[in-house]
Symmetry: C2
Subunit: 377 residues, 2 copies
């Protein structure tokens, strides 16, 4: 088993920005940071095999505790030899706590001091998710990087509600740490506090008392303006100990990745690249394109002429559009692959730029070229 | 351009059965026969990339003229550089005539001497498919092996109807040959005649007058008893010139492949392996299994323990069942791959057995082990 001190190594800090280079090491291999983590909600990055996910450059994926707990169940996965073996992903797995999905997907969720009582969205069965239960499930899955149960308030919420949520999150983090003590896997802390910097700093102070080896920032990108999110990150991140990795939960739009790195984020995850792909949207050098647009009907150029992925080397927009309008599964599969490759390559370019002391230049160039909206070409 | 005489080379005939070995050569490569051709209806073997289709051993795929004519259109594919380039399949493509789909999928199809008038199942638009039009479309697609427009009667039909259909098929074959004369690609003839051997032989006589380089047997496996189909094949095939390849249209169940080969069939196609795969059914050494069966919930053995495909080497029945019941696209993808691999391997084993003069023994062994029904294990 890995020593916890070896988990994260900060290898370089940019001078002009908050950007950093590092390495995350778990019992399932290494990943350079900053990195983007594809989401494999139900134990599969939708439509792709693990080998393809790795081809896009990813070495850490996120799986959802809520979904896997309900189906096929943590005990089944434990008996299968753990999630890595079950889903054939040999690299690092990060799991969330299930808290976010309990609030967004489950029926009738009710939060108490003990935990969250909820009904399954699959069969209506009643479950109590406590901080201990969440960690227990994540341990059974064999997760490398675990999240403690937290409360993520919707935006906007009253100040008081954010405050209550962060305090609850802190108490649950304490219980999570106690429960996990001495067992394999890395446990992060989660910083809440909504859109108020003073609450964010209070949350950080609480969580830092537990001295966990990594810190996640939750409750952002949940409806607030992007500028608000960046403002919070700008105020918060300088207070996080530099030797700990920072994970911005649920954020993955290309422009947010670049901006997030510049503010000092090391880890990102998001369902967007695969969800957009299944819905016919592809990242391109200049912005997103919707492949069902009639303008691509006879467009025999690659999806993204600047991309060197398998999809862009072998298929045209006209073909991908044909697959999509014909409702062929291959459309979602190929677009998901391209989108993950696009983000994987963007992260590799970011790391290279930091390495070569030209990240600020890279960021400026990127912001000039890439527009975070759908474009026609 | 390939000489038409080089198209099919018969390399061995079995002594105890009608089984044969041969090679099909087109401008897009070679395929050993007997072989199974996966179906790529809309220009994609559903859920799979062409490289995966080739991994299963297939070197010829079938694409549907009806679907591609309606969407994205033959002219678009022609401008894309042909179907091979459009869909990224470098090997041989066989196209059907569209006649079968016009009758089974289109609305309001009406057969006349000129051709078939029908309404598109996609947008209701009116089209006239003539023998010339069908060949023209197949030529625009750049098909290597083309089928002439024919009439396939449903089973059961009155004798008289089968007779009319085969006569119409013969007249259309003549027009197809005239239209195709001097242009690239191989044109087959199609033998109709339903379940009456005298009609089948009359059809063969008609078609043989055109001396086309290959013969397809249509209108079987459309509802008649399997024994009836084999009886017709047994009576018909000895009359087909031995130097011409015989293609049994739309047949692909494992037991039908083995039996068909023993009667002298060289080519098969069928949507079953991919359709069954998407519906959660997998071929196994002893028969088919339905992966959503509760008995596989904690079955950590491979889909088919006797199989060495990517899916069977890397995933368990429990995982595949989880994907299927969770409605994950990866389920259909992995099961489709396995099923095509299963059939590809079966055909390779058949060819090896013929080569080593033990096909009859192979057939007996196979019939003992494999049951053409769903099993539990």
């Amino acid at each position: 088993m890995m020593e916890k001190g070896d988990f994260f190594k900060l290898t370089k800090e940019d001078t002009g920005t908050g950007a950093r280079l590092g390495t995350i090491r778990t019992d399932h291999g290494e990943s350079e940071t900053p990195t983007f983590m594809p989401v494999g909600t139900q134990g599969t990055v939708k439509a792709l095999i693990p080998e393809e996910v790795a081809q896009t450059g990813a070495r850490i994926i996120l799986c959802n505790t809520y979904h896997l707990y309900l189906r096929p169940g943590a005990d089944l996965i434990f008996r299968a030899g753990g999630l890595h073996k079950f889903m054939n992903w040999p690299n690092t797995i990060l799991t969330d706590s299930g808290g976010f999905q309990v609030n967004s997907l489950a029926h009738l969720s009710k939060i108490g001091e003990e935990g969250v009582l909820f009904r399954s969205h699959i069969d209506g069965s009643l479950h109590l998710l406590t901080p201990e239960k969440s960690i227990e499930v994540q341990e059974k899955l064999g997760s490398d990087i675990m999240m403690p149960l937290d409360i993520c308030r919707p935006n906007p919420s009253p100040y008081k509600k954010y405050e209550e949520a962060l305090k609850q999150t802190s108490r649950w983090a304490t219980r999570s740490k106690q429960f996990h003590e001495g067992k394999p896997g890395i446990l992060f802390g989660i910083i809440q506090g909504g859109i108020y910097l003073d609450l964010r700093l209070a949350s950080l102070e609480d969580i830092e008392e537990l001295d966990l080896p990594g810190l996640a920032i939750g409750g952002l990108s949940v409806g607030e303006e992007k500028e608000k999110m960046y403002e919070i990150l700008e105020g918060l991140i300088p207070h996080i100990p530099r030797e700990k990795p920072r994970y911005l939960m649920g954020v993955g739009a290309p422009s947010s990745l670049v901006k997030g790195v510049s503010l000092g984020i090391d880890l990102f995850d998001c369902v967007l690249p695969t969800r957009l792909g299944r819905n016919g949207t592809a990242y391109c050098a200049y912005g997103k394109i919707n492949i069902d647009n009639a303008c691509f009907r006879e467009d025999f150029s690659p999806l993204d002429p600047a991309c060197d992925c398998y999809v862009c080397k072998n298929y045209t927009r006209a073909y991908l559009r044909h697959l999509f309008v014909s409702r062929e599964m291959l459309a979602g599969r190929l677009l998901s692959y391209h989108n993950l490759y696009f983000l994987g390559k963007l992260m590799a370019q970011i790391r290279q730029a930091i390495k070569e002391d030209r990240f600020l230049e890279f960021q400026r160039e990127f912001q000039k070229i890439y527009q975070e909206r759908s474009i026609k070409e």
